[in-house]
Chain length 339, copies 4
Amino acid sequence: MTTHGTLGVAVIGVGTMGADHVRRINDVISGARVAAVADIDGDRAKALAETIEGCAAYADPAAAMASPEVDAVLIASPGPAHEEALLTAFEHDLPVLCEKPLTPDAASALRVLEAEQRLGRRRVQLGFMRRFDAEYLRLKKVLDEGRLGRPLLLHCRHRNASVPPYFTDAMLINDSVVHEVDCTRWLLGQEITAVTVLRPAPSSDSPEHLGDPQLVIFETDGGALVDVEIFATCGFGYQVQTEAVCERGTARIGEGHGMLTCAAGRWGGEITRDYVERFEDAYDREVQGWVDATRRGEVIGPSVWDGYAAAAVCEAGVTAQTTGRRTTVELAERPAFYT
Amino acid sequence: MTTHGTLGVAVIGVGTMGADHVRRINDVISGARVAAVADIDGDRAKALAETIEGCAAYADPAAAMASPEVDAVLIASPGPAHEEALLTAFEHDLPVLCEKPLTPDAASALRVLEAEQRLGRRRVQLGFMRRFDAEYLRLKKVLDEGRLGRPLLLHCRHRNASVPPYFTDAMLINDSVVHEVDCTRWLLGQEITAVTVLRPAPSSDSPEHLGDPQLVIFETDGGALVDVEIFATCGFGYQVQTEAVCERGTARIGEGHGMLTCAAGRWGGEITRDYVERFEDAYDREVQGWVDATRRGEVIGPSVWDGYAAAAVCEAGVTAQTTGRRTTVELAERPAFYT
Amino acid sequence: MTTHGTLGVAVIGVGTMGADHVRRINDVISGARVAAVADIDGDRAKALAETIEGCAAYADPAAAMASPEVDAVLIASPGPAHEEALLTAFEHDLPVLCEKPLTPDAASALRVLEAEQRLGRRRVQLGFMRRFDAEYLRLKKVLDEGRLGRPLLLHCRHRNASVPPYFTDAMLINDSVVHEVDCTRWLLGQEITAVTVLRPAPSSDSPEHLGDPQLVIFETDGGALVDVEIFATCGFGYQVQTEAVCERGTARIGEGHGMLTCAAGRWGGEITRDYVERFEDAYDREVQGWVDATRRGEVIGPSVWDGYAAAAVCEAGVTAQTTGRRTTVELAERPAFYT
Amino acid sequence: MTTHGTLGVAVIGVGTMGADHVRRINDVISGARVAAVADIDGDRAKALAETIEGCAAYADPAAAMASPEVDAVLIASPGPAHEEALLTAFEHDLPVLCEKPLTPDAASALRVLEAEQRLGRRRVQLGFMRRFDAEYLRLKKVLDEGRLGRPLLLHCRHRNASVPPYFTDAMLINDSVVHEVDCTRWLLGQEITAVTVLRPAPSSDSPEHLGDPQLVIFETDGGALVDVEIFATCGFGYQVQTEAVCERGTARIGEGHGMLTCAAGRWGGEITRDYVERFEDAYDREVQGWVDATRRGEVIGPSVWDGYAAAAVCEAGVTAQTTGRRTTVELAERPAFYT
């Protein structure tokens, strides 16, 4: 691959998310092509590869990564498969875009953290796509400029219209609130030190075995407080809002906008249906950013450290949820490598 | 009546509007009471008077105004009866709050104008209630402060959910657009010099004999242009919006606000149903302002000159509507008395 | 006093708040007049009374209430003086509008509660003016209609531009958050059972001895959770916002509205400066509602029980604030008298 | 070029707009590359080509189009050069994305129209990028669904912060209002039959020789009325707004949105600075749409007929502007080829 060449990407795992990334690289992203797809379901990989010119299919991720056509790896397999895929990519010294979570728990994340450090340079961009969303970027910029003073509080809302019946309390933290974990760390540049989970009487639309909504509180090492409403069965749409309360002003993103209609006695607009609609541009920008950086020989975006820290906070969050008590976050010391 | 005494008001005409003013003076307004009601339908006057302590009923407005209990007159009878009622009030030298229109045409308005001048001092406040609306007052203040520069254009929207079947094209001008006539003159401090009326293909919800909506254009002697959408059968509610486009910025009132809800895939709020709901506070403030000024021995608010000018512009407007041509406004010279 | 007569009001305490109520009754309210003013500073009372026709001045509240000109009492003296003033009003069997707080603590509030019950009927309307605010009334209506389902969470923001230097942590609860205490109880129709206070690193604009902002959490006997951001030194204006998160939708009040301007690269509107500007209409409606109800021989609005419950929650709040721990609210059983 | 191959694009004219398209094809667009650039300033072409792998430079557009590396042409040269470039592309039977205007006047546009018809199939997509803007697409969808009834009026605002000193009255129509000409025709699916231009006293920030702002009125063959405020020196930013007033409701796009801040007594957001910021996504989507359609062997988007009709309306508009009179639009009959 030359600097100006087209990046050959192996996509590992082509379920819903992986297949969408394949479509994205094919149709939207400039400077990259899907050179290989790998899936534990080899037939699924094969069927998909046949629709793409010059794309090979594999059942084994390691075989895909060994192909000379492959310059970079996008991991979209289920979380438990990430550690092995990452370590294989490290063996081939391939740049990686790894969908969140890094790995399912803090211990395995720590192993990946150590493995990447042994490479001597960063190889992994982690798929926290909100960092590439235009509104979040504007909020980050305002906080960094300091015009409003130091951030004191974040108020976050994270609402889904509905969740599948197998969704659990722990998934509220690990699959949903994990985004607020990363946004808090990124927006404030601070680590989360404790988590508390408060639970109102659940909505009657909340599936059995799920206590929805919940109110999650983070404390940070910079003294900020963050409250997160997670409401996975709100029924009316997908809404992600953040309000930063600073010393001399507030900044808020995620409000409704776009086309306004007046009809039948009401004015207003539509709420986005799901995260695909809300964050489509962010996903495009995330992958384009990864392709561009990789072609320049750089690594950008959230790191393995960010993935490890998110895993550690989520572990504390699930404990807090189960015990009903404020739970402190146990975090390894941050290596100089990641500063 | 002493300066601190309660103002005894005669309400002339107690149809819908007059009866509402009676209720307002009784229940809302400080420092006034309804001392007399007069209506051509004497039984209606009688029935209403019986519900109010110390209130006399009359069929003849002149008799009501002759009562020693009456300190001031509120005229809410139909427009054709205004001239006679005003002249009678002038004979008794009584302060008047006269519902719009002053009189139904410019010629009669001119006669009232001359009669009031013969009194040697202003006695009449005209009922253009928008001048007492909080949002209009804020817009007026911003324009007067000049921070945005000189106003160049006004964009006005005037929408009603529906109108009665007898509503005519001329009533679009005389009953509805007349408010924009007054607001234009008041906000800009300029006279309207020409009117054009443009007509799209009418809405299928527009009653026969009515071409609704219409687009009315004013030109002013200060060089400003004003476009007014009048849409009397829009179906979805009552909306009055004004955007002033100035040299260095714009200011806009009449946008939806109040409570926001998210439900069933949409965010937004309610549109007011009618002018009573939208301008209730303005009516209260208008009448309270009149009572307060009268008790101080003063006259405030829109004058007979404003009523005459509105009548002259509306006459030109109806001609423009009928002929499809730009029509200049014929206006007498403004007496020093009204400057 | 006849049913249709003008209500003679004694205003007890004519500092800032009391003097404003005197102005309100004089200039705004229909059907009432200030018959007496009483203030511990007799000269202040005298000076004010002289500007009002037929108004007597007293240094002793009891003397004012004994006057035959007095039909009703408005208590606006400092909180510690309320208990005695209320008991005196009870002796004269006078209807009372009592500014919040009812009394400074739960024990004294309980004594007033028992005294009013001995009268055999309610005499006191408590001055929680938000219950008369148009937006709060709309929110209450939506919650009561049940179209959005059961309320699960309330998110409240309570921001002041600044506070005087003597303002303390306890005052954050007793003077500011007390309004959210009442709104929570009123909007949800539930009692608050526990309070937790969380504290971020304070703003550098927060005066010494004040840890501002704070995040206060209420739990209710209906299983709802309420988070309140109290930020008394936010600098940019006065903002009171409430979002109710229900099973099938949300409803939000306190958003910016009114005139929108575009200038110098920004669009937007003004934030109200203080509670007087934000709640002026609510105060007017509160006092008019009291006057109207009193003239009909009725008592409306928040009761002595509401004042007692607010005091009990605030006591728990101050304890929670001091100890950093979740604190349960000790509440007497609600007498049938107040249901 | 195979169906799955990368499209080799010749960019004709690499001034500001052309150079931006070169960047876009290089960095943003999937499935295309810049194979050649041509500019009358050969050095400019050369300098740009040297930064792009495999890109040839030409001074002569015809030579660029003759290259075997070129599969498609993007014309971004000044308007007067378009006719010749289009005819040359037709000779090579190359698909074209032609920046607006098609040509500078209706007569030359008609010649291109005839030439394309002789090819027997459409080759040209015209660069009216608003048709690819997400908000315009939503508005189009709502109008087409018919839920709000038939569109009766369009209110359009088109504001620029400033224009260069050489900007003329005619350019207000030909360079700015031409977008509203196309949007009106596209949104309503109707032809414009007459134009009137009204002129208030100009802003003091309007350069000499420019009468800014102006109010342009379109009438359509479907009976709709359209008013367009063109304000090229408004100072505060770039704003493009459209409100469609339909029989049973209205729909509005172009309102401010994104991040909201509260600070220093005001709430609100930023206004976009220029059309690049406002329509960046639309340009990306336009070019990606062109590349995708071309690779499928199709032509999408606005046609040569749309370019011709816009030219004819603009000619009438300039006449209306000069004469101050309502001017009818002379339009050739629409060939079946373009229906």
